[in-house]
């Protein structure tokens, strides 16, 4: 797929990010990611629970939006995502994606 077409599809997400950029600081992302860490290892290790490290901001955002929209395929992630606002999804996706680029 060409980059232009892809970014057109993702327009909604781009808006989401730019809206939240000013309001949400890195602290909010870190605090929200603490919830992720109860089940997902943030060092990228672990088995049995899918890793969320190295996925990138866009994929994480899309995944959370999809989980929020439907109970299937995972009711745990549905409950987590339903508790998050658009701004919080953007904030936590940005924070977790940054963990991938800076492995510990």
């Amino acid at each position: 797929m060409r980059p232009v077409a892809r970014s057109a599809i993702a327009t909604g997400l781009v808006l989401l990010f730019s809206q939240s950029g000013a309001a949400a600081g890195p602290d909010q992302g870190a605090q929200l990611a603490a919830t992720c860490a109860s089940c997902h290892r943030l060092d990228g290790g672990g088995t049995g629970i899918p890793s969320i490290i190295g996925l990138g901001e866009e994929r994480l955002t899309n995944a959370l939006l999809a989980y929020r929209a439907s109970e299937s395929p995972n009711h745990i992630m549905h409950v987590i995502a339903l508790s998050l606002s658009d701004e919080e999804i953007a904030s936590v996706a940005r924070y977790v994606a940054a963990q991938g680029s800076n492995p510990r």
Partner: protein
Amino acid sequence: MKSWTRREFGRLTGAALLTALNQPKARGQAKARVVVIGGGIGGATVARYLAASATAIEVTLVEPRQTYATCFFSNLYLTGLRSFESLSHGYEALAKQYGIIVIHESAVAIHPAAKTVALNNGSKLSYDRLVVAPGIAFRDRAIKGYDEAAMEIMPHAWNAGQQTRLLRQQLESMEDGGLFVLVAPPNPFRCPPAPYERASLVASYFQRRKPKAKILILDAKDSFNAQDLFQDAWNRHYPGMIEWLPAQFTGGVTAIDAKTRSVITAGATFKAAVANVIPAQMAGRLAQLAGLANRSGWCPVDPVTFESALQPGVHLVGDAIIGGDMPKSAFCANSQAKACAFAIAADLTGSARFPAHLFNTCYTYLAPDDAFSNAISFKPVDGKLKSVISFVSKVEESSEVRRQAARAAEGWYDAFTHDVFG
């Protein structure tokens, strides 16, 4: 004082310096001191998240044990599916990676006016904020005759450790055809699905090793957590092996006789080959001594900051609190602990406050390859923690979905204990 002091401080310097590079500067004053009493899931999580989020706070964790064994997943150990070592976690990473001062002593008293904690070794710790995570204690005389000596014959195995090992030995040495009696406690108690998960996994063990054995659950309640999922699984996996008697049938368990290993209800006496007696519970002893519990035996807290409603400057998390709709689970303790840590950090350092997100997630085993899960989100409403959204596995799910949940549960244990203990 033990030799930990100098060594731990030596290690601490390096770790603290490394962390400091990524943190905003403290406000040019002495570090605020937070003391956390209790190194279970709630206490260890508070300590870790406080230390990681604010270098301007000195965090001390007081826990007598060198290692902590998790009660969750101990039913797998009990039935030969996991080693005891796999349930055991030390505090080295919390000390080395996060710069937490770990003191292996018991806290014996709290003096809220002086803001000090007295330790078993005679020393005193001063604090700006105190977090108490005392877990549970058993109510005295809840079941007549069930004293400390009786616990060595009819174990509760509701704090993981020697009691869990004892119950496993008893199950292993029990003859085929024996009766295992499980006495299930009244609400509220630690980990609502766990007595029934225990019955399920013991049934699975009996099926493999002692196929003529039977299980009798004598319940203090008339219904229990995820009852439809459990009873469906008992019919599918262990037909005729598990009998559950609600309180309305038996009048409830009133006494035990340790000499004959008997459990006595209002109307009958049941003689067991192995008996697991899980008594009624309340907040841990220190909470009772320090005036942190009310007449219910549990600790009222502010649902946003987890500060005690009875003693200002003291916060509580985990099984000991009155959690509203939040069950007493390790997951809830961990979730509350993060909210509490962020609230304390905001108070002490002026860092930004964001709405807390509180959850419970449980994986529960019905058989070694059949697990179900639930998830609930919570919000503070009118001073209470209310459940907002809740989903649980369904009775008609495929065996493949259940197998996947059993695999996910293993991964969850690894990630969760890594989150708590580093």
